[in-house]
Amino acid sequence: MRVEAILLLFLGVFFGVVGLVYWFWSYEDAGTAMLVGTCLLGFLPGSYYFFWHRRMGYRVEDRNDASIEEGAGEINSFPGSSIWPFVLGMGAFLTVNSLVFGIWLILPGITLIVTALVGVTAESRRGGHV
């Protein structure tokens, strides 16, 4: 994960420098705040990946000479299909629109969101899908 870490850390350094230059040249606070935020966005995951690179070393997908067989084994668990993202999306739709069309819409909206969250958690624990 070395390249990934360096990519994000570079992002942090770049926006740190740009943010500093921008602040001392313009003293404009909104832009500086956003540049500092972007700088942190680079450093936070970047240092995480760097830490894991130090611990894990090079994975098969980081090595030029890795063969396909070396990646044998379980990759991950992928849910085959699930109705809950759809239910969650509809819940978000109603909830957000309740602010525009009438606050009563929030009732079905929140109900759908809670149902979907429970459903998706249970589905992950049970390992089943619709």
Binding site: M1, V3, L7, L8, F10, L11, F14, F15, V21, Y22, W25, S26, Y27, E28, A30, G31, M34, L35, T38, L41, Y49, V60, E61, D62, R63, N64, D65, A66, S67, I68, E69, G71, A72, G73, E74, I75, N76, S77, F78, P79, G80, S81, S82, I83, P85, F86, L88, G89, M90, A92, F93, V96, N97, L99, V100, F101, V120, G128, H129, V130
Partner: protein, 616 residues
């Protein structure tokens, strides 16, 4: 039951008899390839529901990617029809085809649909969703259910925005940039503005989730041997785009929430109404600028919006640069020229694009002109590197002028013109003279139509055989291209001229004595030619649906991993993978004899080895 992908079956065939492998993989179109249903046979065990329930519940990145692409292309047609209405209105001075209010609604929704709901989601939700996991040899996206949620938020966000046409007061009419204080409750009352804000908030979350998903997929699910510097350029560009999404979209979404709070909850973040005069200790000066405490700032909206808005321009451009970089080498029969240069240019463009937001605000008089002008001009350098490499890729290649290739060439010309005028506009004196005129309109339409339309539909023509296992008609494709090409230049070149003659944007009517009419007439004719070209594309889809021409797995003799699997790919994409030893594994596999001629990074490494070797 949860499907578990076991890589014990994702292994390379034991040094296959290449003679057997070759004729199967490089079938010319129509020469005995198999129909999608046959191709699917071995990948179609029980993978959840079918029919309409499949589209509602699938977490397969291919189904979600197709849903994204179909939805965004439908919205593209909606927005295109709106553009035709706008052009009809502008053909004659003092036209009464539309009322001024309708005109404002239509140009706002045209821009919003094209930028928020078509170009971005089509690229990172549609094509990237479908292609990126295939290109890196992954079975799916990293978070399949989050991926499905992204789509549903995108769809409901789009519907929310379009509901504006059906509410009292009509759709939003403050432009796609929603400048404060025009977008305040006083200046733009009505539900249209509110549903517009909510639509963008929903699609904003959808984009952020897709960004997280793409980064996770590319960092964690690459096949063994697929190092970062062997990823196809399209995947690289999508990674950088995803990071840009994570930088830009949270700012937009939070700005929308603040705008909504200003409109309804009595806050004064972007408005100065209700602000009392502050004197004495609460009034202070910072470097000559008067700052008042307790007051909203309309300029803050522009800062927040463009901090999203300019990276957004590159969120809309980088994926399409990636598409072009995939297509040019395949139809030039050469590896991509300057692979690493392309990667670093992409990163440089992305990094710089986040530091140039205020070049949209030069005329506010409240931004640091030299800083933003310098960084804006600097973007021309990595973009120039990309152009150089694209030309280098085609140089001395065996060019095949297929439909995807023609669209890429159309992109190069369109984006060049848009880019050059962009460099002009990065210079504050020129920007002061042309700001908010049709010169700017022509500039960004050439950039965005060059990328999202020329390069985007190049991608559609290129990957359609992979997605459906059938070819699109080349003849109709070429008609589509040439009509689009002619229509495109006819629409936008006169707009540059009329802009320099002073015609402002966002006006529904103009005086008849300024000589603007002839340019607007030309522009309208061009717009209708573009519309005709897209009618031909529909016909092409219809034809391929009714009379399928089987494509085989790799009709273009392409380079990257997605062409190794069947068309369309089976559930979880691969039953086996070729060894990955360069940035074009499928080509290496199909042309074992050509491995003696190293290319790309392999060529650089080989050159180093050769220099150390003693001369025999």
């Amino acid at each position: 039951m949860t499907d578990v992908t076991d890589v014990t079956d994702v292994i390379a065939p034991p040094t296959p008899g290449l003679d057997e492998a070759l004729p199967e993989v490089i079938l010319p179109p129509g020469a005995g390839g198999h129909l999608p249903d046959d191709a699917h046979a071995h990948g179609h065990e029980d993978h959840g529901p079918t029919g309409i329930l499949k589209w509602l519940t699938s977490t397969d990145h291919k189904v979600i990617g197709l849903s994204y692409m179909i939805t965004s292309i439908v919205l593209f047609y909606f927005a295109g029809i709106m553009a035709l209405f706008l052009r009809i209105q502008l053909t004659t001075p003092h036209s009464s085809f539309l009322t001024f209010g309708q005109y404002n609604e239509l140009f706002t929704m045209h821009g919003s649909l094209m930028l928020y709901l078509f170009a971005g989601p089509f690229a990172f939700g549609g094509l990237a969703n479908y292609i990126v996991p295939l290109q890196i040899g992954a079975p799916d996206m990293a978070f399949p259910r989050l991926n499905a949620l992204s789509y549903w938020l995108y769809l409901t966000g789009s519907i929310t925005m379009l509901m504006g046409f059906f509410v009292a007061g009509g759709a939003a009419s403050f432009g796609w940039v929603a400048y404060a204080p025009l977008s305040s409750a006083t200046s733009s009352p009505g539900l249209g503005g509110d549903v517009w804000i909510m639509g963008i908030a929903l699609t904003g979350f959808s984009a952020i989730f897709t960004g997280v998903n793409l980064v996770g997929t590319i960092f964690y699910l690459r096949a063994p041997g697929m190092t970062m510097f062997r990823m196809p350029i399209f995947t690289w560009n999508m990674l950088v785009t995803a990071i840009l999404i994570l930088i830009a979209f949270p700012v937009l979404t939070s700005a929308m929430v603040m705008l909504f709070a200003d409109r309804h909850f009595g806050t004064h973040i972007f408005t100065v109404t209700g602000c009392h005069t502050v004197t004495g200790a609460t009034q202070f000066l910072v470097h000559g600028q008067l700052t008042q405490i307790g007051c909203g700032s309309p300029l803050l909206w522009q800062n927040l919006f463009w901090f999203f808005g300019h990276p957004e321009v590159y969120i809309l451009a980088l994926p399409f640069f990636g598409i072009v970089t995939e297509i040019l080498p395949v139809f030039s029969r050469k590896p991509v020229f300057g692979y690493k240069g392309m990667v670093f240019a992409t990163m440089a463009i992305a990094a710089l694009s986040t530091g140039v937001w205020a070049h949209h605000m030069f005329t506010t008089g409240a931004v640091l002109l030299p800083f933003f002008s310098f960084l804006s001009l600097l973007i021309a350098v990595p973009t120039g590197i990309k152009f150089f490499n694209w030309i280098g890729t085609m140089w001395h290649g065996q060019l095949a002028f297929t439909t995807p290739m023609l669209f890429c060439l159309g992109f190069l010309l369109a984006f060049l013109m848009g880019g050059v005028t962009g460099i002009m506009l990065a210079s504050p004196p020129i920007d002061f003279a042309t700001h908010d005129t049709y010169f700017v309109v022509a500039h960004f339409h050439q950039v965005l139509e060059g990328t999202a339309v020329f390069a985007g539909f190049a991608g559609v023509y290129y990957w359609y055989p992979k997605m459906f296992g059938r070819m699109l008609d080349e003849k109709l494709g070429k008609w589509h291209f040439w009509l689009l090409f002619v229509g495109f230049w006819l629409t936008f070149m006169p707009q540059y001229v009329v802009g320099l003659k002073g015609m402002p944007r966002r006006v529904a009517s103009y005086p008849s004595n300024l000589g603007w009419q002839v340019y607007n007439e030309l522009s309208t004719i061009g717009a209708f030619i573009i519309a005709l070209s897209f009618a031909i594309m529909l016909w092409n889809f219809w034809k391929s649906w009714r009379k399928p021409v089987p494509s085989g797995n790799n009709p273009w003799d392409a380079h990257t991993l997605e062409w190794f699997t069947t068309s369309p790919p089976p559930h979880h994409n691969y039953t086996h993978l070729p060894p990955i030893r360069s940035e074009r594994p499928t080509w290496d596999y199909n042309h074992p004899d050509a491995l003696a001629v190293p290319h790309g990074i392999a060529a650089e490494a080989a050159a180093k080895v050769r220099m150390k070797e003693p001369v025999a």
